[in-house]
């Protein structure tokens, strides 16, 4: 499996099968090897059921985010990459601001790429764990449905956990 593409090239050199992913947000197109793109379960299901045309439109994911996703898939499709290499590469991909991470985790979820979903979720957790909960509410646009009294009561149950936070 690992050396198959190499062998093909050396033999009769048929063109490697590629897929074109197109961001429907800014119409950016990415040509990727099929085995790289197939790490997305969503794309794999489309290809398997012959629903994929020459160009696969990817709704709601920007070209910037799609590029990160493809970088991740390429790294993880490389059979000679060591676990250590992958860890470093993953860390590089998720070294982004919180808003990019939110887009990335949504993309990983939509495209169904488990590994990317995990590293991005972990990075989001690491990025928010020192923020006051009011900031987290704002970043994720969560509506506060507590009355001030209710919120105070929930807080009072574990007030000690807020030590050092507003």
């Amino acid at each position: 499996m690992a050396s198959a593409p190499e062998n093909e090239k050396n033999a009769s050199a048929p063109e490697k099968k590629t897929l074109t992913l197109k961001s429907m947000i800014n119409n950016e197109e990415f040509v990727v090897d099929e085995h790289v793109a197939l790490q997305s379960v969503t794309i794999k299901n489309m290809v398997d059921s012959d629903c994929a045309g020459d160009v696969i439109p990817v709704p709601t994911i920007s070209g910037e985010i799609l590029a990160l996703v493809i970088e991740y898939c390429k790294n993880h499709a490389n059979p000679s990459a060591s676990e250590d290499d992958l860890k470093k590469a993953d860390a590089g991909i998720v070294a982004k601001d919180i808003y990019t991470l939110i887009d990335l985790v949504l993309a990983a979820n939509f495209l169904d790429i488990k590994g990317l979903l995990e590293v991005t979720s972990q990075k989001i957790a690491d990025s928010i764990k020192d923020l006051p909960h009011q900031d987290v509410r704002e970043i994720f646009g969560v509506e506060n449905d507590y009355t001030p009294e209710e919120e105070a009561a929930v807080r009072a149950e574990h007030d000690w956990a807020f030590e050092g936070f507003p």
Binding site: L106, S121, D126, V136, F140, V142, N144, D145, H158, W160
Partner: protein, 391 residues
């Protein structure tokens, strides 16, 4: 694209429990996710999966006044100096307990202000408690308390007793069987908690009481099963002398079961110590002879090892011969340079316990455990929090 609520669950499992208690204030949905038993178990499992990445060490010791302390040590550079004390999630126990093994420590405040309690009825077995643990059994999703009790001093030849309390059934249940009946555990034996299994070095006695063998007694918390495991007999025999159980203790090294074979100069100074590691779990031979800890002046007692391989020792202070058993000091031992470095944690002899399995959880969010205690019926001791979810 806007945020999808189902993605919260996964992000939340990666956050520290203390911070999750803050996030309960964000909105009602978050509060109900964080409080749900499904989430609490998922968070614990995620922490267990991640625990190898952080090298956190849990230490229990009893200070000179015999008050017990639980501390967590994180930083590599300033190990032993920079640590945090954590609270004890059990109440109702006045006496000291002995040894612990745990994972999934319920996070809560050190001061226990306004804590609620979940009451546990009095256990059946009396005697001197040896081990008590608490944790979640991931197979059945039930939280349970495990108790293994040593016989009272008046009857040292009787076997240890074990019982389990299920928080969902609210019942104590005996664990009996031929295996545990054939063993004797000494109160002073250390225990090792490796891969969800408790291990003691113990004496196995044949039915007619005439044959004794030193074996490992193990207890798998997930299915409440006692088993015996062989010791590496041929490796441990020195100069054709029979193996002396008082010179052996059990522990963990790099996640594997290990035996510490001590030279034993005196009760408090074990001289040198040879470390053996069980290569294949449950298989008698071969055990690997890893190295020998042999610093000048003896080593006191080897308590355990950190994830980075550094040894943790309990040393005596030679200047204070009076009350020496209450003035023990902790130290680290570099296995490469043989350097011993003492650090400022002091306490009573043989009451130090270290564990690399520490992770925090939201278990017992509704309150600490409270066990009824009856001073006339023997000493009930509670010891820690075993991770049943790890199996």
């Amino acid at each position: 694209m806007s945020w999808l609520p189902e993605l919260w669950f996964d992000v939340f499992t990666r956050l520290p429990p203390k911070y999750l208690l803050q996030l309960r204030c964000v909105c009602k949905t978050w509060n109900s996710i964080i409080k749900s038993p499904t989430f609490i178990r998922a968070q614990l499992n995620q922490s267990i999966a991640n625990k190898n990445n952080n090298g956190t060490l849990f230490l229990r010791h009893c200070d000179e006044d015999k008050k017990q302390h639980f501390t967590i040590h994180k930083k590599n550079e300033s190990f032993g100096e920079d640590y945090a004390e954590i609270g004890f999630p059990f109440r109702g126990t006045k006496r000291k307990f002995n040894f612990i093994g745990f994972c999934g420590w319920p996070v809560h405040s050190l001061e226990h202000v306004h804590r609620k309690f979940i009451s546990i009825p009095k256990p059946h077995h009396i005697g001197i408690a040896h081990f008590m643990g608490f944790g979640v059994d991931s197979k059945n999703g039930d939280s349970k308390v495990v108790r293994v009790v040593c016989p009272a001093r008046s009857n040292p030849q009787s076997p240890p007793k074990a019982e389990v309390y299920s928080l969902s059934l609210r019942l104590w249940r005996y664990i009996s069987g031929d295996v545990i009946d054939s063993f004797r555990i000494s109160l002073w034996n250390r225990l090792a908690f490796v891969n969800g299994v408790l291990h003691w070095i113990a004496l196995s006695i044949s039915e007619n009481m005439d044959e004794k063998a030193i074996l490992i007694l193990s207890y798998r918390i997930a299915d409440d099963r006692f088993q015996k495991m062989p010791l590496p007999q041929s490796s441990l025999i020195e100069n054709r002398e029979p193996i002396d159980s008082f010179k052996l203790s059990i522990g963990e090294y790099q996640g594997l079961l290990a035996i510490f074979q001590n030279e034993k100069l005196s009760w408090t100074n074990l001289g040198s110590c040879r470390i053996w590691m069980m290569e294949k779990y449950g298989v008698e031979e071969p055990w690997t002879n890893l190295f020998k800890i042999d610093p000048p002046g003896g080593i006191g007692v080897v308590i355990g090892f950190r994830k980075n391989g550094e040894g943790i020792l309990e040393m005596g202070n030679e200047d204070t011969l009076v009350d020496a058993a209450r003035r023990r000091q902790m130290a680290t031992y570099d296995i490469q340079t043989h350097q011993v470095r003492g650090f400022e944690i002091r306490g009573c002899f043989n009451l130090f316990y270290v564990d690399n399995n520490y992770v925090e959880s939201l278990l017992l969010l509704e309150g600490d455990l409270y066990m009824e205690y009856d001073g006339n019926r023997g000493n009930i001791g509670i010891a820690g929090n075993a991770n049943f979810a790890q199996i």
